[in-house]
Structures are given as structure tokens and as C-alpha cells.
Subunit: 578 residues, 2 copies
Amino acid sequence: MNEKKSRSAAAAIPFRVALAQVDPTVGDLAGNRELMCKYIEMAKALGADLVAFPEMCLTGYPPEDLLLRPHFVADSKAALRRLASCADGITVVAGCVYNRGGQVHNAAAVLHRKRIVGVYCKQLLPNYGVFDEKRYFAPGEENIVWHLGEAGIGVSICEDIWLNDGPHLAQVGAGAGVIVNISSSPYHAGKHPGRQKMLRARARATGAYVCYANLVGGQDELIFDGGSMIISPTGKMIAMGTQFEEDLVVADLDLSAVRGPRKSAPPGGGPVAARKLQPYKRQNDRPQVACRVAPGLARWEEVYCALVLGLRDYVVKNRFEKVTIGLSGGIDSALTAAVAVDALGSENVIGVTMPSRYTSNATLSDSGRTARNFGIRLITLPIENAFRAYLDDLADVFDGLAPDTTEENIQARIRGNLLMALSNKFGWLVITTGNKSETSTGYCTLYGDMAGGFSILKDVPKTWVYKLAEHRNRQAGADYIPQSIIDRAPSAELRPDQKDEDSLPPYDVLDQILDAYIEKDKSRAQIEKMGFDPGLVARVAGLVDRNEYKRRQAPPGLKITPKAFGRDRRMPIVNRYT
Amino acid sequence: MNEKKSRSAAAAIPFRVALAQVDPTVGDLAGNRELMCKYIEMAKALGADLVAFPEMCLTGYPPEDLLLRPHFVADSKAALRRLASCADGITVVAGCVYNRGGQVHNAAAVLHRKRIVGVYCKQLLPNYGVFDEKRYFAPGEENIVWHLGEAGIGVSICEDIWLNDGPHLAQVGAGAGVIVNISSSPYHAGKHPGRQKMLRARARATGAYVCYANLVGGQDELIFDGGSMIISPTGKMIAMGTQFEEDLVVADLDLSAVRGPRKSAPPGGGPVAARKLQPYKRQNDRPQVACRVAPGLARWEEVYCALVLGLRDYVVKNRFEKVTIGLSGGIDSALTAAVAVDALGSENVIGVTMPSRYTSNATLSDSGRTARNFGIRLITLPIENAFRAYLDDLADVFDGLAPDTTEENIQARIRGNLLMALSNKFGWLVITTGNKSETSTGYCTLYGDMAGGFSILKDVPKTWVYKLAEHRNRQAGADYIPQSIIDRAPSAELRPDQKDEDSLPPYDVLDQILDAYIEKDKSRAQIEKMGFDPGLVARVAGLVDRNEYKRRQAPPGLKITPKAFGRDRRMPIVNRYT
């Protein structure tokens, strides 16, 4: 009787969960461990019973071929053991790499009373899109429920929960009332609402709490947007972390609300091991926590925030301080400068304007205005001298031949060379300004405007560039990006009176064809059926196909759409399929 | 009695197998089908009972993300049906992609009497190194033996046979005396002998004939070296195709020599379907064929031939005719020119010498001598004017700062710009000349000497460059690559009296450390234990790590070692692991 009573009294104290939405750095085992210890202390200070960290938080995600180095896996395990010593007074779920029996796993280690008390290994390994997990990991087989006082806790990792009959089902069948899913789910525009919908459906189907700890931060081309969530057994959003920022998401779970799986839910097969953990003595005086559901971001705000975080992390994690941007007076470079200023501060952004004989006064003054509006230093380096030197030096070998794109590319490459000279001399990272519409069609110069260390807009279609520029101005309440830039017809200004639309269809048409051909993998015939001119479709698809070689040498850039160039889309260069 | 007699009489006529070692082009479904029909006719003319084509021959290999386009898979299936109409009077094993029940397979279709009479789907899908097959394919489950008169034929695909208990074991257990394995096995230096050893072991263990049809040709960074083989049940090499060339490998198999599996061999599990094919009427007058075992190539001959084939196919399959190479007067560019001349003919190679204020007379005259020796056109474009223009234009912003690598890189990038101008104006493909030692350590200029469409020596360590140059001269019986180039200490000549060894350790030391760190994935501590100075190991490993961003923008180049940069080695740029 007494024992029963004390149990129900314990159950009356809610189970406090914390999700540590942190931004680790790939390969920085010591730094990531310290970051995790810091968040463990924060969670303890809030009286949390359990704190969960994102998938592979300890190594950073994705560590790619570092995972093929046995000493990296061994060092990671040593770091995990050291991390365990921080896990006292709180139970920790830590994303890590873990090797066992000669196999390497994407794992969630449970740390309790300074020990590793169990390791769950990811069962469903994504090997599509940007993911290569079958290259690195063996799938886990053991399913576990940890019993911590009244709480039954099932742990799964990212992809595991995207299938409605994933390992969480068996865990719930074996008594888990709290499903902890740790993820490093890469961002693309509009993905966050889809995740919410999926996770709410899992909560409702299982009648359990779903606690979803997602990574935040940039890693090379990927952005992780956070937005960690705690969802009630009825599918109600209890708490949600801010997107694109580190956050500690805390909520009290009323375990009496756990309903168990609905009758309509599949039974959930497979054996599940039960591990009983000795609960810590509960703090009676723990602080109240108010659950906070971060407000959702509107479309362009979300994309803009993603670009800012992705750039900042690439710059900072690579230990750069300042960046330089060629300011042409066009909208791409103006938006790029805006993102850079918001990511790094105006004192760390240097604009360079490099006028040629074809640069109009309007664009020249607009590049100056952009720099002034954003408070950034502007260097002016005219390219006429160098251009003349090239033309003179090539005069003999080009004798009798008409000017063509060759001369246009020479100018773009002089600009690339000047920006790289500044980069080499001052240690500034060159940020390129090309957008996805250009990158797709090859409307850009290799080693020219494509020269640089990182590309912010690589996966942003031109039509989105306008939306983002307008968003940025709207948010500032002023035309930081001059309206004249937004209004002017786009031009590369590499020959007299050049306009983008001399070479490309209007961007609203182009972007629709590109979306169908690249992101949706539609055939030319299917795109024609959408109502586009067959000749135009063939021309655009041909441009995309023929420019694979250029994209292969493009700088890395941020993934923003469901299918970016890079790991997402692996096309051969030698390719005669049309 | 009569029937038995005629059967044994039929068995007395050997089973004639042909392996069509062909060089298809990725995505060229119609062209590849025509190529295969041509070889089917050649094999028929030789009276072959069966002809086998390499893995995914009909699509080219690897088609990468083309496989994610449903219309590509559908078009491939249509091409297979058309190919079947060529399969009359002979049985054909054709590598192809095949979709069935919503799943896409890496398949071997058996074509007979103008019909697709069965499809074997690859069971073991490699997903390591350069391979991503689990991204594209579902593993096959059905195992089949085709019975064609007296011959029991088991078909498997590449990786399937690398495991000694692969599907061939069950096939032999179910009566196969002829194992046909179709492969697209990428080349690396020294791989061919390993394949022979493995295949002979399979033949001995199963007591069956092993017929191994391997792809030949270049596809982007990969080279397929052919060397198709027919091996007797006792492990004797009966026939072998020439490496690096198309070939039709033919042999008569005495089916009475089939022994069945040795007792020590594992039994080979799983059900095997039997498919009986109606034999064609045997030709009584078929020509005699003499089995030919192509002689093995010596080490440097093999690597050299690989480079020639890889370059030729990249150029031709991308529909270029001519290439241009910056001839510095150093050994890398001289060897690159030699390979290009051997691949494309001297009339299709244009050398460009671009002397600067730091170019010595010796190197200048050596670049001229190299061009004369190989009979190629040489264009001279001094870079002094352009260099001076840059220095003048940057004088204000660089005021008071000492010259450093910035000024070196400006020169290299002027050369890149000039080569690209020739490329743009005349349609020549720029071939870069950097070797693996430079690429590894970043001893090269992004957009400078790294500018170009294709890199021949990207995966060739500097110490190998010398071996290959000496091989080329030895084979020619004359110093086509001037001895003075081989003897001179390597220098970038970008500042006065510069030598590579000012910045890098001697190449014989460097290449050993690079091999350990990159190819063998050893830790710094392990490399120190090999006897290298800890400071040096840290410096070299640090250079490799820090220059990942440069390699990400390098042109594609030929894979020559077991681990090349590219698909083989996927390292993050943001990476703090040391």
C-alpha cells in the first residue's frame, strides 16, 4: 500500500524534459563535449529529469568520411566516456558515433549517474538525397525502453520516426510513454511544417509524448534549422524551439496523460529490452518553467534566416572573420551583402566595385548606395587597365576574329582575380553572388563571378532573390537595397546594352522550367505538357545538362530547396541522355 | 539410345562464349544499343553460342542520378526491348537497368530468339569508395540458371562474385557449369592482378568456367580497364582481353571439364530457378578461334595507358576535338602534353607558354623543346603586361604591404584567364597539369593553374610523374620529355629563385606521408610511428585538411590510386578534427 502510494505521489510530479538544440562543429570533439556539458548544466539548473541532444551532436553532423578513420571513431568514443562524467543528477541522451563488434553505428547513448547505461543504434539509414548513411553505418537491431521512475522512455534517431511503423511503435508497445527522437534534419524551405505534421501524427497514433531534438547550425552546404518540439499524446504542440538559433526547449510531461497506442495503430513488432535506471532524488524546489512555442516564421523570413545562419556558421567555423563581395550594382550582390551584414556585422563585410567600360552610371551609383546603406567599406578597382592588357596580349592570336563571350569572360575573370588578390592579401573570404537560375543554366563565368569560397544564393532561384530583397527592405522599413536595383532589368554588363533576357527567357518562366526539370526530375515531354514551348524547354534543359562541368567547380553554397546542386544531385558530366 | 547419343554428340561440340568488352557512353541509349548490336553480329560471325556485355552496358556506367528519373529508366527498358531483336542465332547477356514492381535494379537481361527471356538482378550492391549503388538500386533476390543445351549458365553482376559465397555458389549447386559475371570494375593501379587471382579462386572453388566481361573506357573520373577473362574449372586462364581497348574475347568451353563444386566449398544456399532455353541449330562450319591471353602490362605502362584512355574518352565523349595545355617547362606539363598527344594526336594539342619576369631561360627553352619534340603548336603569351596592370590597380589598396603569395597567385590566375580565353574563343578544352602531391597539399592556385576542364595527373603522385616520364621516354627510345626537365629541381617560378622544396618536404618523403594519411586513413600518431618527424607529419596533415576547399573546386581528373579525391573521399570542409 505504502509503496503504491509513494509511486502515485511520484507520478504526480511531472517528468521534466529538456531538448538541447545546439550548434556543434564537425570534428571538434572537445569543443562539442564542452558545449554539451554546458547545456547539461543549464538543464540541471532548470530541474530537468532528462536532456536530449541532437543526432551525432558530439561529432557534428555529417562527419562524412571522417567516419572511415578508425581513430576518429575511437576518439569519439573516448569523448563520449568523458561526456558521461557530466551526466549526474540528470539523464542524458547524446547523439554520437558508436562502434561495437566491428560495426559503426549512428547512435544515441543514454548517460546516467556518470555512466553510459545503454546505446540505441539508428535502424533506418537514409541513403538518398544528401544522405550517404549506408556508406558509414550498420543498422541497429536492438530496441530498448529505459524505465526511469514512472517514465518509460523510447529513443530513436531521425529517419526512424519518419516511418509510421518505425521502432517507436514497438517501444510504445513495451511501455514507453515518452518517445525521444534525436535528429539532424537538414533544412529546406517549407520543411518545418511537414515535420510538425508528421510528429503530431506519431504522437496521436501512439498516445505517447514525442520529444524531438533537432540540430541547429550550418555545416558546409547544409543548414539545420532546429525547431525542436515537444508534443502531447493528443498531438498538441507543448513547446517548440526557435528556428535557426540555439535553444533549450523544456516542458513538464504529465505521464498520466499517456494513453498508449490507439487500437487502430499497428501493434509494433519486435522484442524490446527493458532497462531500469535508478531515479535521481527529485528536487522539490525546482523552478517553474513556462512552455514556449516559438512562433512560426513567414516564408521569406524563414529563408532569409536560413541564409544568415548558413553563412555565419561557414565563416565562423572555418575561422574567417571578414568577407568580401563584388558589388556590381545588381540585385544578387546587394542581397548577398545584406545577408553578410546580418550574419557578420557591417564591420566584417567589404564591398568591391570593379567598373568596366560597360558599367552604367546607374549601376555604379547603386553599388555605392548599397554600401552606404549597409555601412560597409567599399573598394573601387576599375578593370579597364587589366582588360586592355589582356586584349593587347591576345591581339595576335585573336587576329581577325570578332569579339564574343570570350571578351565578356575575360572581364569577369579579372574581377575574380582582383577579389582573390584581396582575399589572399587580407584573409577575407570571397562570397560569390550567383543565384540558382544562373548556376542552373551556366549564365555565369567559371573563375570569374563564380570565383570565391562560398555562395549564399547558389540554391536560390532569381524570382526568390526579388522576394528576399523585398522582405529585407520591408523588415528594415527602408530601401536598404535600393529600389532602383530591384526595378532595373538584370544585366551582366559585359557588352554594350546587354540584358539577361537577351540570353535567357524571363526569370518567372525560367524558374518554373528549372523547378520541373531539376527538382521534380520531369522529362522534357512532361514539361511541355505543363504548357511551355518545346523549343524553350529543350534549350533550358540543354543548358542545364551542358553546364554540369561548371557546377562541378562551383564553390559550395547553401541548400535551400528540396534539391540543391551538390550531394543532392549527382549527375555525370559525360552524359548524352536528353 | 538415339537421343542419348545425339546429346553426347552435341556435348562434344564445345560451347563457344564471347565477351564483348566495349566502351559505351553514359546516357547514349541509341548509340550503346548500336554498339552492342555490332558486337552481337561479330560474335555471331565467330559462331559464338553466347555473348556477354559488361554491367549496365546499355546505359553506360555509372549513370548516377539519371537513374532517379523515371523516364530514363523507361527509355532504357525500351532500348533493351529493341536490343532483344538483335539477339537471334545467339544468346545475349546484356547489362542494363531494369525496373520491376516499382523497384529499380542493376540487371543482366538474357536475350534469346529476339526476346527477353529472363532478368537477373544484382544482389550485392556496393555503397563504398566511388560506389553509391544503394542510392539507386534495390537488391535482387531471384537466382537463376539458364539451361542452353548442355550448358548450365549462371549469371551474376560485379560485386556478386567478389564474395566467395555470392550467388554463383547456389547457381553451381543448381547445375551451372558456366558462371558469367558482367562487371564495370573501375581501374586503379595494380587492381587487375587482384581480380585475376580472385576469379581463378572462384573457378577452382566451384569447378565451373568463369567468364568475366568487364567494361572498358573512361567516364568522368573513372577508368574501366577491360581485361575480360575466361577461366577454366581448374583455374587456368584460357583467354584474356587487352586492357584499355575494346575487345571481343572468345573461347570454346569443354563442358565435360566442369567438375562441380569441390567438397570443401560451401554448399551454396537459396532456391535457384531453372530456365530452359531452346538451343539454336548449331553451325557445323563455324570458324576455329584461337584463344588469346593478352600479355600483362608492366606497372608504368599500365598507368600510362590508363591516363591516355581516360583523357581520350573524356574529350571525345564530351565532343571536344582539341585541347590546350599551359607548358611551363616543368615535368608535370611535359608529361601532360605527352599523354594528350598519345590520346588525341599532336594536331589536336596546343601548348601555351606564358613566361613571366621570373621565368628562367632554361624552362622557357624547355617548353619550346617539349612542343617541338611532340610536334605540337606552341603559342607564346607573356604575362608581364597584365601582371603590371594588376599591380598598378592594386597599388593603393596594397600600399605599404610586402609582396607575398598574393602576387604569386595573381600571375597563376593571369595564366588561367589566358588559357580560358583561348578555350572560349577556339573551343579547346583546357587540360590542367597539377599532380596529386600538389592537389593534396594545396600547392597550387585556385583559378590559376587549377583552371581547366580536366586534370590528367590529379591522382598521380609527383614521384609517379617522374616514373611515367621516364617510361614514356624509354618507350620512345628518345628524350621526348627533355632530360633537363627531369633533372631540374621543381619550381613554380612565381618569385625569384623559388623551389618547391622551400615550401614542401622532398617529394619522396611527402608522397609516403600522403599515401599513409589519405589512402590508408592513418592517424598522425600512426604515421609518426612509421619514422617520420612529428612536426612534419602535423604540417602535411594540416595542409591536406586545410585545402579541402580548394579540391572541392578542382576540375575532375582521373582516378588512378585506390583512393582518389572526388567520390572516393568525401571530407567535410568545415572540420576541426586533427
